[in-house]
Symmetry: C2
DNA sequence: TCGCGATCCTACAACGATGCATATCGCCGG
DNA sequence: CCGGCGATATGCATCGTTGTAGGATCGCGA
């Protein structure tokens, strides 16, 4: 059996409370006592029982991160950054996958699985504006992704609209006029897909280019295969375009693959722009020009924001929204001008 | 404040232990009582306090997974599978990143951070054979990656040697003779890098091909950038080869990128073979022929194996080794024959 | 009517830690 | 020489749950 405070106390010849004080860095302890206790701790290999500690203290030292799936590189890289940021604050991270499914996202917010954590960072894909009430939970919550005005929680997110507007304008500035889009979600109201489409349309409008539904392709999920499928559809129906804006890098990479299979040259015939700046975007052939939405900043800030709320206990802070800066990373698939 | 068993009991007019019995599915409860209790639970939104439960029961309902980093797609996809498998067994998964660093791997095995879990699945990259003692831990442990004979824990792993031998033979069968390798770790004794090199050498030997150090390139980490760097080195020093075996897909993809920058055609001039069968291997240009080492099976089996040990409590099972089947996935970068 | 087992429910004591209140000591200033 | 204060160590209650043991209630046969 694992050693407890009592065992250590017996060995060191002090009360178990004193051991607790040593472990917790209580200042008023004579060096001699401290040393005796520490020796006993080492000898027994004592490790505090975290269940007991958190039962008593109300803190678990863990946070939860819920993303659609780690199989999508964007979320994997995001998760990596979140875990690293949490670790710096001495927190462990529990990762949940929702599949981007609304029902599972909502279920998770109710689930007792989270009672083991001090708070949740949620990246919802399926939730709708009317789900605001579900976000009114009795634990600290930071939502990643754009907020609607009445969502009650903290938000840390990217400038979806601004970034896609800038991306689209980048393509326009390089001389493209027929810019296809891959990744639309038609039944969505506030998700990234919808916001990115809005940015795209704003840019077109600002430059007097008509919006043409025929070159806007859906993709329910954002895997490579979905991008490939969408591009095949566009090609099959004979759509005309001189650029493609994939609403994320994996879509763009899947699409780029199909373009080249079809004998089209990138970027000569069709420029390709992605979104996310995944590690792999720098190593595709051709390398992928993309929008870096500030993923690492988002991860770090999400953890910080959650910690602020955890720190305050119940003290009410108003819901805050924090926005990352973005930038366009120019590579081969869509050269500037 | 969150509701407790007592609150529910008061509302339902029963003892708090009865509520506990209802929650835990104890069979001998009158339907009327059960219903009363359930109504009270709903009304108060009662959720069991997992810290208290696990303090009392000794089980936490969580497992830990330690991988080098989620930024590497292989580990991200593996983590996704592990989390999914754990969820099916009603376990949550806590993810740690070790950076593949020996010191951090060893530290993790001692860390109180794990006391919050029922067991650990560890994918060590930096540990050495002499670290066997560190694996003798007082909690259930499953190690991913090849075992040395005296490591005391369960192992679930891939057939590194067999798979690379088969991969190398596949290239040989397709007519290649100068097969470069990317990903060697010279200071390693038992890691995947060393084992894969062994498989490679066995295949060469079996076919009477001399091993040539000049076409074996190191890569300490296995990112795309490392593969690219290694390939640049090979090219710079004028190495001659007609195939490249990347010891994982990201290395192979990085290398393939550099090959094509250098004006070499894949597969005509140089065939490229990867290892892992990542999602993205199917969408590169050209698509990547690769060895599928049975990642999903490994994830599922690791969780099952850990659960068996958790179930037994302290009961001694001998350490077991379970090996996944592999297969070669033929794509464009290295066509068969 | 009583006895007896099955069924249903309850009381109490843990699990291992922390917070608070309190004891003990030595030392200083008045 | 005493009161009081800071430094050090302790004891007890408590967090919310489950395990164990035992008390109440019921139906049914004798």
């Amino acid at each position: 059996m694992a050693a407890t405070l009592r065992d250590v106390a017996d060995l060191a010849g002090v009360s178990f409370k004193t051991v607790s004080n040593v472990v917790n860095g209580y200042p008023h302890i004579r060096p001699a006592t401290r040393e005796k206790v520490e020796r006993a701790i080492d000898e027994l290999g004592y490790k505090p029982n975290l269940s007991a500690r958190s039962l008593r203290s109300g803190r678990t030292g863990a946070i939860a991160l819920a993303v659609p799936e780690l199989n999508l590189s964007y979320f994997a890289e995001l998760a990596g950054f979140v875990i690293a940021a949490a670790e710096r604050a001495d927190l462990v991270t529990l990762v949940e996958q929702t599949g981007g499914d609304r029902a599972r996202e909502l279920a998770l917010l109710q689930s007792p699985r989270l009672r083991m954590t001090d708070g949740l960072i949620l990246d919802p894909l399926g939730m709708r504006p009317e789900d605001a009430a579900a976000l009114d939970v009795p634990f600290p919550l930071v939502v990643l992704g754009e907020r609607t005005s009445d969502w009650p929680s903290d938000h840390v997110t990217m400038r979806n609209v601004d970034a896609t507007r800038a991306g689209t304008e980048y393509l326009i500035a390089s001389g493209r006029r027929r810019i296809a889009v891959i990744g639309e979600h038609e039944d969505e109201v506030i998700g990234s897909a919808r916001l990115r489409l809005r940015g795209y349309r704003e840019a077109l409008e600002a430059h007097g280019i008509d919006y043409d539904e025929r070159i806007v392709a859906r993709a329910a999920l954002w895997h490579r295969a979905d991008g490939a499928r969408a591009m095949r559809e566009l090609l099959d129906r004979g759509a005309e375009f001189d650029a493609v804006f994939g609403f994320n890098d994996t879509l763009a990479l899947g699409a780029m693959r199909v373009l080249q299979e079809a004998g089209l040259r990138v970027p000569e015939d069709v420029a390709v722009l992605g979104f996310d700046d995944l590690d792999e975007a720098a190593y595709s052939i051709p390398s992928l020009t993309t929008v870096d939405p500030g993923r690492e900043w988002i991860a770090r800030t999400a953890v910080e924001t959650l910690l602020e709320r955890i720190g305050r206990g119940g003290a009410e802070l108003p819901p805050r929204t924090k926005l990352a800066d973005f930038r366009i990373v120019e590579r081969e698939s869509a050269p500037r001008a």
